[in-house]
């Protein structure tokens, strides 16, 4: 069908970014210009940007919300000692979360691709069905993986449920796998050779200059070094602490205010989830136990979601939900 007249060519050429960090910076400016609060990464080990309370907790309740941030993410089982061109146990996700999801979210998203040099007039951008589910967060949504020339560059999800609660209104969530996306934009074949800062800088640094050694160290740690008995204890501790924090009465005797410790409890959920991932990487969790551990983390996530719904930030507009 290529004999039809060509219309809708790109209005203006977009300059190609030159480094990993430039792609991040462009995404930051783009989403800042679209009105998102540009947050900083959450200061805990998480498996994905979704775990940031700015997404999980803030997608609950009716209060409008718009945030974007980079989130360093850890998947201990994906460690390959820095040798695999695409796999890392520590990587970056770019996360955008907007509540309620705006009607033009797809167009906003496509604008962000243009901003980093992926011009839809030259590339084949496709929305391919991919339903998202996080068994540990008790969350699911419908959406797509976005393909650029056959490669998955983002995950696009309309949250339907988080922590067992229906999302009303619905949040729209965008997740960009930054390394993979940047490698494609920059035409790099191995993540470790990717320019991190501008290659023309006085001190040019590649991704490998910064992360090859840590990938080695953490791969060894994740697969062989981590003390499994201690990790198991810490898992139990995190679980118990989460419960304990949520067991306090809402009224704080010192200030006389209603202070529910939803966020500190949720930190323990994040901790438990990461400890589970480490235990999984160490190969000490059997197939049957696996489901049970996931269920335990999900139970924590649900309790935290319940608690957050009782707070001001997570309440419905007409007041604190029952």
């Amino acid at each position: 069908m290529s004999d039809m007249p060509l219309t809708g060519a790109s209005p203006s050429a977009i300059t190609a970014p030159r480094s990993f960090q430039e792609i991040i910076l462009r995404l930051q400016s783009y989403w800042a210009a679209k009105g998102c609060a540009i947050l900083q990464p959450y200061d805990m080990e998480v498996g994905a940007g979704t775990f940031h309370p700015a997404t999980t907790l803030r997608s609950l309740g009716t209060k409008p919300w718009a945030a974007a941030y980079v989130q360093p993410s850890r998947r201990p089982t994906d460690g390959r000692y820095g040798e695999n061109p695409n796999r890392l146990q520590h990587y970056y996700q770019y996360q955008v979360i907007i509540k309620p999801s705006p009607p033009d979210l797809q167009d906003l998203y496509l604008g962000s691709l243009r901003a980093i040099g992926l011009d839809p007039a030259l590339h084949d951008i496709r929305f391919v069905e991919d339903d998202w589910e996080s068994p540990t967060l008790g969350a699911w949504g419908l959406g797509w993986e976005v393909w650029c020339d056959g490669m998955e560059v983002s995950q696009f999800t309309y949250f339907q449920q988080v922590g067992g609660h229906d999302c009303r209104p619905v949040s729209g969530e965008l997740t960009y796998g930054l390394e993979r996306l940047a490698m494609y934009v920059l035409g790099v074949d191995h993540v470790m050779t990717m320019p991190f800062n501008d290659p023309a800088s006085p001190i040019p640094l590649t991704y490998g200059d910064i992360f090859r050694q840590t990938e080695e160290e953490y791969s060894r740690h994740n697969f062989d070094g981590a003390d499994t008995a201690q990790l198991l204890r810490h898992f139990e501790d995190a679980e118990a602490e989460c419960d304990r924090l949520l067991g306090f009465p809402p009224e704080d005797p010192k200030t006389g205010k209603r202070i529910i410790m939803a966020h500190p409890a949720y930190d323990q959920t994040i901790k438990a989830s990461h400890l589970f991932n480490l235990l999984d990487a160490r190969g000490v969790i059997s197939v049957t136990e696996r489901q049970a551990y996931i269920g335990r983390v999900r139970a924590l996530a649900k309790k935290c979601a319940d608690a957050f719904r009782q707070t001001e930030a997570g309440a419905d507009a007409e007041g604190v939900s029952a």
């Binding site: 069908m1 060509l6 809708g8 309620p100 999801s101 084949d124 951008i125 391919v128 009303r168 619905v170």
Partner: protein
């Protein structure tokens, strides 16, 4: 007569849902219109990734007025009854008519419904259709409460005739209907209005949208073939992929690329699966060598560089994917060559066999490794019955599932078995063993081919019998529509394997011996779990065996046999054998020997299709009824030998002779399982039995003669029932 055009424009609809959604839209709207009193000449539904469209031609402009009369309660009825009638009719008391009736004066409601204009009806029907659309999965978005497959953006709803077009006004959750739509997301992003279906389809095409999925499929297939042909290659046909890809694009542009030389050594199935599952590429093969050498990807856009950037990107993604696959393949081959054969010989544990110990097959039934050991033992035992070498069958069973631990099957589960064959071959195993790895999962569905190589048959049977026995032992049987372990499929597999290969297996004995093995594995598994959790071994084992109700071995086996018989009935019904014929044969001894059962049923069905056969059944039933009644009345069983010397009529004597004659034929025929001969002989009894009943009264005053005749009927019963349980037959 006006035409109706509806378009529901949304964000990208999953490709796999589009065909069903087209049909649902057409049915829901047309049914709704017809129910409301409109008629139409024709309707057609279309879909692209972003729209569902329905075009209806020749719709009536309004519904006819309807006058309905309903009889209500008596005018003296209690107030509640009258109120109820008013509610159901929507009328007030003054509007009711009083009419004289047999039982006095009765209220009558005369309800006149005026004809409604089509737009009103359409608005109602479309509103209800959108709100209740049966998407397999639907969602909410923004602050709205409407559910659709993905956010719904606009509704086009237009009635048009020669005089012009009018928008049918409606509003669903804030989305108001209109006469506008959009073209291709990137190539023609503007909004435009349309006046009727032809205008709509033509403008869409100008805006880079091919509305009809069949047209997109045809274009993709044509262009893909042209590209391949020009390079001396051909596209591998894949209907399902074609439909899926056509559901992913509004403006299909096939592009062809080559697979790097590095990857051409991969098995063709691996190339095809990887390209299809991950990238939705068609495979392109070289007709001379049969090798997969290229791919066709279908882009959704045209670019200034004629797709060069798109193709380059796709090629890069493919190379990364295939590098993974190649790594898996080479690694797997190394494992296969290094230890697989030795493991099968019992000398050395191969890496995979070891790994399968850690893979739980089922919480109560142990690991995959336990399961393989059971299947191997059973395959060895079944081997002689299907003409396989027991050593080879056992060896094949031990190797058949090792590929579950291979990296390739980890990545592409659908290649299980097939990779097993490649790896077994690489390990130097004989073809029979390698092929059993590939074929032992078969038959997977009712139309899937049944393996015929004896070694494959033995392993395939053992695999399925182990599944059935295992899940029966732990009481995880299919219920209603739920069959999570595909046990119905396994049972049908057993039936087809046995019948398709003429194997004579008395299944019940196999099930019983195998259940023993399964139970011991259940006990072992419980013991292992107790060991891990520090529990008491004996308590755990006792508990496990108590829970599985497997202590009652005969009950479990009988229940499983009944299940197999149920599946056999379904299977034979599909083959045209009557259900009552199957029941008549199932009631006979040896009913766990499936080929015997089928032989008997086939012969019986053939006999019943002859006039003699059909009439014989009537004669048999008459004899049986008279005899049963007499036995109940007299409280005795008439099973003494009837004596011809008490025979009074010629017909009676003739029947004695006929029974002697039939007996002499049937008894030896049954011994050799020659049901056809036995049943033919049985059918010859029809004439003498009919003649006997016509000429002879059973109940005479002479008690000796009566008893003798009843005993004669008993001979009919015995002879007929020795062939099949004719009492189970209909009619």
């Amino acid at each position: 007569m006006p035409d109706l055009l509806i378009e529901l424009f949304s964000e990208e609809i999953p490709a796999r849902m589009q065909a069903r959604a087209r049909a649902d839209l057409q049915k829901l709207v047309t049914d709704g219109l017809v129910e409301a009193g409109l008629t139409y000449a024709s309707a057609a539904a279309f879909s692209t990734p972003r729209r569902l469209t329905l075009a209806i031609e020749g719709l009536t402009a309004e519904s006819r007025p309807v006058r309905e009369e309903r009889k209500g309660p008596n005018t003296s009825a209690p107030a509640q009854a009258v109120e109820g009638f008013l509610r159901s009719t929507g009328l007030s008391l003054e509007q009711l008519e009083k009419r004289a009736d047999k039982k006095g004066e009765v209220y009558f409601a005369v309800i006149e419904r005026p004809g409604r204009r089509a737009p009103e009806i359409i608005a109602d029907v479309l509103d209800a259709t959108i709100r209740n659309f049966p998407w397999p999965k639907s969602m909410r978005w923004g602050s709205g409460s409407l559910r659709w497959v993905r956010p719904l953006h606009s509704i086009l709803c237009l009635l048009s005739d020669e005089g012009g077009a009018e928008v049918v006004p409606l509003s669903v959750d804030g989305i108001a209907s209109g006469n506008t739509t959009r073209g291709h997301r990137f190539l023609s992003p503007g909004v435009f209005s349309v006046t009727n279906f032809d205008d709509y389809a033509a403008k869409l095409k100008r805006a880079h949208v091919v509305l009809d999925s069949a047209e997109r499929e045809a274009a993709i297939w044509h262009d893909a073939q042209t590209l391949a042909f020009a390079a001396g290659l051909e596209v591998v046909e894949d209907r399902a992929l074609l439909t899926e890809v056509a559901g992913l694009v509004e403006w299909p542009v096939p592009l062809m690329g080559r697979i790097g030389d590095d990857f051409l050594g991969l098995p063709p199935e691996v190339l095809q699966t990887s390209m299809r599952e991950h990238q939705k590429f068609f495979s392109v093969k070289n007709p001379k060598t049969g090798r997969i050498e290229g791919f066709v990807t279908v882009a959704n856009t045209i670019t200034a560089d004629h797709g060069a950037t798109i193709l380059k990107g796709n090629q890069k993604v493919l190379a990364a994917r295939l590098s993974d696959a190649k790594f898996f393949w080479e690694n797997d081959l190394r494992v296969a060559k290094s230890g697989m054969a030795e493991w099968a010989d019992g000398l050395k544990m191969a890496e995979w066999a070891d790994g399968l110990k850690a893979v739980t097959f089922h919480n109560k039934l142990g690991s995959q490794s336990d399961r393989i050991a059971r299947i191997a033992a059973l395959a060895r035992e079944i081997a002689p019955m299907v003409g396989a070498d027991p050593d080879l069958a056992e060896r094949a069973a031990r190797l058949a599932k090792l590929d579950l631990r291979s990296a390739m099957v980890g990545e592409f589960p659908e290649l299980q078995g097939l990779m097993g064959m490649y790896y077994a071959r690489a390990a130097g195993e004989p073809d029979a063993v390698a092929n059993a790895a590939r074929d032992h999962y078969s038959p997977l569905g009712p139309s899937d081919a049944v393996p015929t190589d004896p070694v494959s048959v033995a392993v395939a049977l053992a695999d399925k019998i182990d599944t059935l026995t295992g899940f029966w032992a732990i009481d995880e049987k299919p219920t209603g529509s739920k069959d999570p372990f595909a046990l119905r499929r396994a049972a049908l597999g057993v039936i087809r394997l046995v019948l398709g290969n003429g194997a004579s297996t008395e299944i019940s004995t196999k099930l019983i011996t195998h259940l023993d093995i399964v139970l011991s594995d259940i006990a072992m598994t419980a013991r292992r779990q107790a060991q891990q959790s520090g529990g008491d071994f004996m308590v755990a084992i006792g508990q496990a065996l108590k829970e599985v109700d497997g202590i009652q071995v005969p009950v479990t086996i009988l229940d499983l046999l009944a299940f197999l018989h149920d599946r056999l009935k379904v299977f034979l019904k599909d083959q045209g054998i009557r259900h009552d014929v199957i029941d008549a044969c199932l009631a006979m001894p040896g009913n766990d020997d499936l080929p015997l059962l089928v032989k008997r049923a086939t012969a019986l069905q053939a006999t019943l299709q002859t006039e003699d056969g059909a009439n014989l059944v009537a004669g048999f039933k008459r004899a049986n009824n008279i005899l049963t009644q007499a036995e109940q009345k007299d409280g005795v069983e008439y099973s003494y030998g009837a004596d011809p010397k008490f025979a009074e009529t010629d017909e009676e004597r003739a029947l004695f002779a006929a029974l002697d004659h039939a007996d002499a034929l049937i008894a030896p025929a049954m011994k050799t399982e020659d049901f056809a001969t036995a049943m033919q002989a049985m059918a010859t009894l029809r004439a003498p039995i009919d003649a006997f009943f016509t000429a002879t009264q059973i109940n005479t005053d002479n008690q000796i003669v009566r008893r003798n005749r009843l005993n004669l009927l008993h001979r009919i019963r015995t002879i007929c029932l020795s062939v099949a349980d004719l009492t189970k037959l209909d009619g």
